[in-house]
Symmetry: C4
Subunit: 226 residues, 4 copies
Amino acid sequence: MTAVSDVRTTIGALRREVCGLHAELTRYQLVVWTAGNVSARVPGQDLLVIKPSGVSYDDLTPENMVVCDLEGRVVDGEHAPSSDTEAQAYVYRHLPHVGGVVHTHSTYATAWAARAEPVPCVLTMGADEFGGEIPVGPFAVIGDDSIGRGIVETLRDSRSPAVLMQNHGVFSIGKDARSAVKAAVMCEDVARTVHVARQLGQPVPIPQDRVDQLFDRYQNVYGQPG
Amino acid sequence: MTAVSDVRTTIGALRREVCGLHAELTRYQLVVWTAGNVSARVPGQDLLVIKPSGVSYDDLTPENMVVCDLEGRVVDGEHAPSSDTEAQAYVYRHLPHVGGVVHTHSTYATAWAARAEPVPCVLTMGADEFGGEIPVGPFAVIGDDSIGRGIVETLRDSRSPAVLMQNHGVFSIGKDARSAVKAAVMCEDVARTVHVARQLGQPVPIPQDRVDQLFDRYQNVYGQPG
Amino acid sequence: MTAVSDVRTTIGALRREVCGLHAELTRYQLVVWTAGNVSARVPGQDLLVIKPSGVSYDDLTPENMVVCDLEGRVVDGEHAPSSDTEAQAYVYRHLPHVGGVVHTHSTYATAWAARAEPVPCVLTMGADEFGGEIPVGPFAVIGDDSIGRGIVETLRDSRSPAVLMQNHGVFSIGKDARSAVKAAVMCEDVARTVHVARQLGQPVPIPQDRVDQLFDRYQNVYGQPG
Amino acid sequence: MTAVSDVRTTIGALRREVCGLHAELTRYQLVVWTAGNVSARVPGQDLLVIKPSGVSYDDLTPENMVVCDLEGRVVDGEHAPSSDTEAQAYVYRHLPHVGGVVHTHSTYATAWAARAEPVPCVLTMGADEFGGEIPVGPFAVIGDDSIGRGIVETLRDSRSPAVLMQNHGVFSIGKDARSAVKAAVMCEDVARTVHVARQLGQPVPIPQDRVDQLFDRYQNVYGQPG
C-alpha cells in the first residue's frame, strides 16, 4: 500500500469517526439545529476533517464531511465546511498536540460565558477533568483570526481542555476528536452542576493541593490501561 | 400538466413538509400534548397548509393537514384547522415575504413573555439569528384579529423572526416553514441560555456594531451556497 | 351479546387504554421509577381500572392492570393495585362526572406543592386549561380517606382539573383517563413555565374577565367537533 | 450441580443484572459519558461484580463486567474495574446487609453536595424513601479508604440509602443492585424537586411523626407482596 493510499484510508476512518461523534453532541443535548461541530486533525498531514456548514445532524454521512487544509481551505468535499473551520484550523496550526476540536453553544457553559465568568473548581469531576476552573476567552467575532487566537491564548497555559468564549460558547480540545467531545460533555455537566449549586448558596471550595492530586491521578490512572 | 395539477402537487408536498416539521417541535421539546403548530403558505395562491386542531403529534399525517384560505376558512381537509389559523392567516395576508409560521409555548421563551420582557442580545447566537433582542408583542386573546395584528406590528420593522406574545407564547416566521421552525428552535435556545445567565448575575452586553456585523454575516454567508 | 360480556369488553378496552396512557407520563417525564399512575372508571359500574403497585412502566401490560371496586378492593387482577387506589376510589365515589384520575410527583408542580403555593394564572394556557390558578390541597398521608377527601374538597368547586397536594404531588381528573392525563401534562407545563418566569421577576397578571373568556372558549370550541 | 457451578451461575446472572441496570442510570440522565456505575455483591461470597472503568454505557456487556474480591482486586475479567471499586468494596466489607451499591454525579444531588447541605425532608416521597433528610458525607479523595469510610460512617446510623459525598456526588445502597439504583433515581428526583421548591421560597416542613409514619408504611406495605 502506498503512502497516498495510507492517507486515504486514514481520512476515510476519520470521516466516519467525526461523523459519528456528532451523535454524542445531540445525545447530551449540547447542540440544537446545526449549531455545533466536531473536527479531527489528519495525523501527520496539514489537514483536518470537519462537519459541513448548516447541515442537519440527521443528514450527516462520512461522505459529506469536509477535508480542509490548516488554513481552512477545502481540499476534498462537496459541501462548504463549518463556519468555525478557520478558528479550528488556527488551533491545529498553533497547538500541535491537539488532534480534535469541538464547538458547542451548550446552555449552562454558554451562560457562564455570557457573564464572562469562569466555572470555579468545586467538584471532584471538575478537578479530574479540568484541573481547576474552566477559563473564559475573549469576545471575538467570525471573520479573522480572533476566535482561534483567543482559544489558543486561553488554553495554551491551562490544564483545562475547554474554554468559554465570551458571549459565544464552548470550544474544547483533545488528543483526538473523541477526547475533545468528552471535554465538551464534561464542560456542560460541570457548568450545569456548579450553576445549580450556586443558585442556593456558595459551594465549598476544594483546596488547591487536592485539586492537583485529583487531576494528576485522573490523567494518569483512570480508565483501561493504554 | 395543467396549472391545477401543479397546485395539487405543490399542496401535496407542503402537506408532507408541514406534517414532518412537527417532529422538530417535539424533538426540541418546544411543545406538549397538542399545544403548538406549523403552517406554510402555498406559493402563489391565497392558501395555507396547517396542523389540524387538537390532534396528537403522533397521529399527524400529510392527509390530515388542513388547507385554508387566507381568511382561515377550510378549503380542503376532513378536520378543523388549528385554533391559531386565523392569526397565522393574518400574518400571511400582511407580510407577503413570509412563507411559514410556527406557534409554540416553549418554556423559557414563554417565561420571558409572561413578564413582557424581551430577551436581550447578549449571545452571538442571538445576534446571528435575531439581529438584536427578541421582542415582546401585546396581550391579545383569540377571537378577533388582535393576535395576528400584534405579531405583524411587532415583527414588521424588526430583524427578529420571532415574537414573544405577552402571557402567551412564541410566534415565529420564515421564508418557508422550515425557516420558521428553525427560528422557533433558536428562540427557545437563546431564551433559555440568557435566562440561565441572568440567574447568577448580568451578562456582558455586545456592542451594537458587533451585533450588526454578526447578523449581516450570518444572513448572507452561513450554510451551503444557495 | 349479554350485559356481562358488554362489561367484559369495556373492561378489556379500559385495561388497554389505562396501560397505554402511562407512556404519556414517561414521555413527558412526569414520573420516575414507579411513582405515578393512571386510573379509569368503568362506565355504569362501581369499578375502576388502575396500575399495579410498584411495577415498572416497561413491564405494564393490559393484563396486569387491576380492577377494583370503588372501595379500592381488588375485583380482578393478579397484582396488588397502586397504593393510591383508595384515594382515587374516593374521588370516583364523590365526583360522579369524573371518569379518569392521574397521580404524579412531577417536578415543578410538586415544588409549588412543597411550598403550599398555588400556581397563579399568568399564561393563556393556564386560563385555557385551568380557568384560574392551580389550587393547593391539604397535607394528608396515606392510610385513611384524607387524601381522597382533600382532592374532592379542593376540586369540587374549582374549574381546575388538577390539585397540588401539599408536600406531596399532583392529582388530576377528567371526563376520561385521557383527559386526566392531559391535565397532568398541562399542570406540569404551566407550573414549570410560571416557575421560570418568577425566577427573574413578576409575571404580568391577566385580568379575570380575560381568564373567563379564554376558559369558556377553550372548553367549548377547541379541538375537533365531538 | 456442584457448589462451584452454583457460584458461576450466580455470577453469570449478576453480570447480566449489573450490566442491564446501567440503562436506568442513562434513562434518568443520572450520568454522562462514563461517570457512574453499579455494583452487586455475590451473595455468600467475598466477591462483587462491577462496571469496567472508562467504558461507554453503549459498550457494556455481561462479559465485560469485572468480578473483584472485597479488597477491590480483580478476580475475573479482562478489564480494569471502575475506579470506585475500592470505595464500594469497603462498603460491602463493613455493611453486611448491603447487596448493591451505585455511584453517580447526578446534577441536583451533586449540587447539594457541593454546598455540603443535606436535602431536607419536605416531600412525602423523601419521607417514604429516605425516612428523613438525605445526609452529607465528608470530603474525601480517591486513593485510600476515606471515601468508603465516609459512606459507611454516614449511612450506618441513617435510614437514608443515599449519601451526598461533599464536592463529589452520590453513593446509594440497597439490599440488591436494583434497590440501590432505585435509591439513586429517587435521590436525584427528591434533590431536584426540593431545589426547585427552594428557588422561590421555603417549603413547608413535615412533622417528624408524619415522616416516621410514611417511612414505616412505605418500607413495609408498598409494592407487590414478597
